[in-house]
Structures are given as C-alpha cells and as structure tokens.
C-alpha cells in the first residue's frame, strides 16, 4: 500500500524537529516519563554539587550510621557522611562513566562495523572473528580483567566497559550497513559522485542510527550496572569518591544488620538512572528517525 494519497498540493503543514519531538513525547506517555526522568538526572548531574546540603566527603564519626532524618534525608553512612549528598553528587560521575563508555564503544563499533558491513570480504571476516573473540569472553570477567590489569581508575573503567560493548555496536552497524549497501539511495549517491567513504559516512551510516539509539540507551544503563558490579568486586572507582555502585555494594552488607538506607537510596538512584535510559531508547529512536515525521 503506498501512502501516495491523492492529497492536493500545498499539503499539510510540515513538522519541525521540535514539533516532531513534542509529538513523539505526547503520543507515548512512557517516553514522556523517561524524558522527564532524564531531565531530573541531568539537573542532578550538572547542579548536584551546588545543591547538596553537606560535603559528600566530610566524615563525622559521631553521626555514623544514623537512620534517615530531617537533617539527613537518606541517613548517614558508616563514616557519618550524608548519604543524600553522596547520592546526588555521584550522579555526575556515574553519568559521565556510562556516557563516555558508550560514546567510545559507539564510535569504535560504528567505524569497525561500517567497514565490515560495507566492504565485506576478508575485512569483514577478520573483523567478525575479532568481535566473536571478544564476545566469546565472559564479558563481565573481561571487564574485570582489564580493570585489574590497567588499574582501577575512572578512565580504565570507561575503557573496559567500552571494549566489551564494541562488538554489540559493530554487529548492529554491520547488519544495518550491509542491508543498505546496495540500496537505491546508496547507488544514487554514487551516481552523484560520492566516493565509497562518503556514501558510507553520509548516506548509509546515518540511516543505521535509529536502531542504534535503542542499543545506546540500553547500554547506558548497562554501563552503569557494569561499573556498579566492578565496585562490588572491589574494582570500582577510588574511594572516597561517591559512586552509586560502590555505595550499593558497601551498603548491601549493611542490609541484614538493619541499616537499609545505605544500599537502598543509592540503589534507587542507580535503578532510576538505568530505568530512565532503558525507557528512553524507543523515544530516542522515534526522534532520530525522520520516517516518524509526517
């Protein structure tokens, strides 16, 4: 069925990018919710340190392990630090880790995947074996190995998370590029005098973006969880830096002894972020995809 329609010309109004976004948000309440949640996260990340009531690093042994109260909304931890302040301040670092890691794997994965998908042949075979090799590793253990080998700094956590994510992007891009390699518009671009690289970069790759957006958003969440997992094993960022994963990991040991707030609040923050990213995916795809406009 074509949508050619017999609509007479000067046709209906065009959607601007903004109106389109508004439409996507309006049509899907869950996406709207996700965007609101994302805004909250962003505000916490940008303004967090100037908003919090206490210094997130200042200990106070006299106040250690106080349950939530009016003064300390989320209670205090074993060193008497304010959990609320720490949770808020950690937003920036956690988002930074996940966004940096995902950006890195997105970039590298896209380049490798595009090459494999567009040129195919032996290059494709080699890259595919490479991705297979990475995937054949138990990914979390590979990340642990990388962090253990390089040392547990924020950068290394980012690298490790990026490395284990590369195959996913690469494969996705490869598939998306591959199906469009001989598409009419790619051929038309060649006729228009574009060399292969330009066709790939400017015509084919941007069309692989919508499905990638879903992957990106899932991965953002997953990267945070990965960092949290590393913290649980003890390979997370350095103390006393506030980071949700570490806080949950440490707090988890306090649950049984009744200090539930230590793990619960950072846990909720973590969940909130991952949840937001996961929900964001579909909306992000709809926004990036011009076909959703009409």
């Amino acid at each position: 069925m074509t949508n050619s329609g017999s609509t007479p010309l000067p046709a209906e109004q065009q959607d601007g990018a903004f109106a389109h976004m508004a439409y996507v948000l309006r049509s899907n309440p869950v996406t709207l919710l996700a965007f609101c949640m994302f805004a909250v996260l962003m505000i916490a990340a940008v303004l967090g340190p100037s908003l919090v009531p206490y210094d997130p690093l200042a200990s106070n042994a006299a106040l250690a392990l106080d349950p939530p109260s009016l003064a300390h909304w989320f209670g205090t931890d074993s060193l008497g630090r304010d959990v609320f302040s720490r949770v808020i301040v950690a937003t920036r670092l956690d988002l930074a880790i996940s966004i940096a890691a995902v950006a890195l794997s997105f970039l590298i994965g896209s380049v490798l995947g595009s090459i494999a998908g567009y040129w195919g042949g032996w290059l494709d075979s080699i890259l595919n074996r490479l991705f297979d090799t990475i995937m054949a590793f138990p990914l979390f253990v590979l990340a642990m190995g990388i962090v253990a080998a390089l040392g547990n700094t924020v950068e290394n956590i980012v690298y490790a998370t990026a490395v284990i994510n590369i195959p996913f992007y690469a494969r996705l891009v490869r598939a998306e590029v591959n199906i469009r390699r001989d598409a009419g518009f790619a051929q038309a671009a060649k006729l228009a005098g574009n060399a292969d690289i330009r066709v790939l970069a400017l015509h084919i790759f941007p069309n692989a973006l919508p499905p990638m957006m879903v992957q990106v958003s899932l991965n953002l969440g997953w990267a945070i969880l990965n960092a949290a997992g590393l913290s649980f094993i003890g390979l997370g960022v350095r103390p006393p830096t506030a980071e949700w994963g570490i806080m949950v990991a440490e707090g988890a040991n306090f649950i049984v002894s009744g200090e539930w707030w230590l793990a619960l609040f950072p846990g909720f923050a973590l969940m909130f972020a991952v949840f937001t990213f996961n929900l964001l995916g579909d909306g992000l795809r709809d926004i990036v995809d011009p076909r959703q406009r009409s």
């Binding site: 329609g5 000067p10 065009q14 038309a188 006729l191 574009n194 009409s294």
Partner: protein, 547 residues
Amino acid sequence: MSLLSITDLKVSFQTRRGEVQAVRGVSLELKKGEILGVVGESGSGKSVTSYALMRLLESNGRITGGALTYDGMDLRSVKESTMRDLRGREISMVFQNPRAALNPIRKVGQQIEDVLRRHAKATRSTAKAEAIKALEAVRINDAEARYNAYPFELSGGMCQRIVIALALACDPRLLIADEPTTGLDITTQKAVMELIADLIAERGMSAMVITHDLGLAAQYCDRIVVMKDGGIVEEGAPGQMFAAPRHAYTRKLVDATPREGTCVRALLPAEQRTPEPDLPKSDTPLLEVRNLTKTYRGKSGPVHAVKGISFTVNKGESVGLVGESGCGKSTTSSILVRLSDPTEGEILFNGEDLALTPAAGFARDPRRAAIQMVFQDATDSFNPRHTARHSISEPLARLTNLSRLDLKARVEELADLVGLPRPLLERFPHQLSGGQKARVGIARAIAVDPQFLILDEPTAALDVSIQALVLNLLVDLRAKLGISYLFVSHDLHVVRLLCDHVIVMKDGEIVEQGPTSKVMETPAHPYTRQLLAAAPKPPVLATSAAE
C-alpha cells in the same frame, strides 16, 4: 438475488493527524456467479473496502457507517466467531505479493491443511490427501512433491497458485482477489488470471477482483466499478465503459491506460494534451556496448546474468530494454551506469571505453555526470533522512562548482522543469506520493545535464494516470535536453510509446532487437510473440482510436 451487498459503507482510520475517512459511502452489489472488477487509483479505498467486508481492518480502522450483507447475513453485527467461520469457508481472499502471504517457515501443504482442518473439510487422516487435491486444483505440477515445499522454494507464480489453492480449499462462494497479479511477470500474470477465471467458472463462485489495471479488469470481469477518493464514481460492463466512459475520472483512467495504437500525448486527459514534441534524432552512436558479460559468483556455481550482449544507442535516441524478471535488465543497467563492473566486454561512450575505469573509482571520473540513472524503486532510491531538495542538490554539489545560491536556484529550476511544486522540496521522501517521488528522481538524474539516462522501470510502481504524466514528462525532457534514454521495462505498451528501438532480453541474452514498430508488429522471435500475447489488451476507446 445478490450474494453480497454493500450499502453506504464508511470506514475511517484513527491516525496521528486525526481521523482519515478512507471509504466514504460505497454501495455495491455482487450477484451469484458474477465477477466484479473494482478499479481505481492507489489509495482510492479498494483494499479497505474489502478488508472492511472481511472485518480484517487494522486495529486503528473502524466501520463508521453503512451495511454489509452477505447471503442475508448482516456482517457488521455477527459475532466474531461466526465471522471466523465465514472467512475461508464462505468468503476467501487472495492478496498481492504471494510469497509474503505465505508463512515462510511452514510447508505449503500444511498451510492448506490448517485451513481445511479449521473448517472441518478434512480430518487428520484425510487432510494430506485433501491438501494435495487442492494443490492439484490450481494445476500445480507434481502436487504431491510440492506439498512438502516451503514458500521460498517456489517461484512467485507458484506461490500465487498456492495462495489461490488455500483460498479455494474450502469451496467458498465468494472470492476476493486484491491485486492478485501485481508483481508477477506478464506471462505469469496471464496464467494466474486465467486460472482464477477458470476456477470461478468451474465452481460457480462469485468474485471481486481488485486491480488498478483497467486492461486486466476489462479482460476478465463481467462488471466493473470505478472508485475514487473512497467512493464509487461509475459502474458498468467493461466494453461499454471503455467505449463510452461517463464519468470524467473514468475517462481519465481509460485514456491513461497505455494500449495499442495510442501515442504518449493521448494518455493525458484531453485538456492537458500539448502538441507532440519534435524528437531529436541522429545516427552518431553515443553508447556502444560490445559483448557485455556479467557472471556472479553464486552459492551454487556461477550465475550468468548477462551473456555477452551487444547493442548501440545513438545520440538523442530512446532505446527500450524489455524482458521478464531476472533476465538481466537491472544488471545491464547497473553496469552501463558504472555502478558495477562487467566480467567482460566494452562500453564505448563517445568512443572511450568506460569499462577500463573500475566502478569503485568512477565516482570521481569526469564522465560521471554524463551518465545518470532513474531507479526502479523510487522509495528505496532516496535517503530517508534527506529532503527532496537535498537529494536533488546532492549531484550538483558533488559534480559541479555551483555556489550555494546558484545551487538553490538550479534545484528550483529543476523542480519546475519536472513539474514538482516548490514547497514539496522541503519534504522527506516518505512524505511524497509515488508520482512526486518519481519526479524528484528524474530531477536528480537530469540535474547534472547527463548525455545518457538509464530509466530502470521508472513507472512500475505508479498509477496509470501518474504514469501518463511521467511518461509525457520524459518525452518532453528528451525533446528539450536531447538526452539519450535506455528505458528498461517489462511493459510492452509503454516501451512502444516511448522508444525508437527495442531490445528484447531473455536469460541474459538479446533475442531480438530492432526498431520498435518492426519488433512489435512483426516479432521474429517466439519469445517476443509470447510476451506480446500475454500483455492485457484493453478494448480500444472509441474516441482515441479515431485520433
């Protein structure tokens, strides 16, 4: 007594732009044993009417008014379970694109069995035999073996036969065929239509055949209704309708249907006709193809797509390339336009052998602009992320040195040239209709003043009236710009209208070539004759015949 009667049917869809009225008051009757043709342009509501009747509308669609009576039963109010009993046993449907209409991972025999068992026409033990019988009924060779086949193992024509077998397995009294032959080769098209006609006659069934091909409808239907914008504009016997269309719209449709003895201009509605242009002709060869061969490395041995063909296209000449699906037309065009390399052979363009420059490096070749192409599938040939303006300016930006302002002006000039309203330039491909997309495609192809243009079935996906406009546009452009065409098509009528020369291909070889009139009127090769015979022949309109 009529088997089916539809009275004032109204259907609307809920979309993001509000409610769309797809069918606005359709009334029609279908008598027992009658074949009713429903014709009309794309989007006129033909399919929606049939889905509404089957109560198979998509979830956003709703019947908002009217009555549907089948054999005295009110189809709008019967229970869903009753409706399910009716579907397949009383009323059956056949769709276009038969391969997709079959479950790809289930044996075709089982799919037929499913229907038989569902309507208690067979038991577990008799199902297989019954299914084979149903397959035999649609004249499939070796039905027993085909029972175990999967759809992907069968050709398009065979799949359509299976779909028909499936639809007719339970001996329904009414068959609805929604464009049953679109996408099939002409020869297959003919075979399938004849099969349907025969079976209907044999079983005394009624049928509703939906098509936008007037020729087809005229040939096989007892009565035709013409739909436009969700309503019926005219109804009558085919002969009468062609001879003297009453409604302007019907006349427009009839006019636009290419057929023997017309010229390009005659396809247009009378009021839009302009004088035939003078077509430039010369005997200087522009393109000489010598012994062009293309062999693909397939999974199971080499595929000889093109087997050493040779032909010449003169400056300003239009050459038609016809043949059935898979005969190597697209392969040839993609080699000529230097998107892929031939295995062997020469492509002399103005005397220089283009095959010497590999396709991968041709993008930067100075001769790139000289050879351009209009693609078969307009939708697929546009980057979904680029607006029409962007698409048209792309070759200009890459292959010429126009300034930004000149570029903008040139794009608008091109839009005017192909008759594309300027506001549409800002749209994305999916926001354009088929005809509009075709225009954008043509504008893009002629943007850099090519000498040679390959048109790979540019009108295959278009309605007849839009096809008429596009064909006329092509003729005008050729006259104005002096471009040579290689026009790839499987529609002989269209080729006849547009081309000076025809090349007939079969299985990668040229079986016949020569001046159009000669090939069409006195075909030398049996294959050419077969092709000509298979093309539907609409009755000739009284008035235009006189012209």
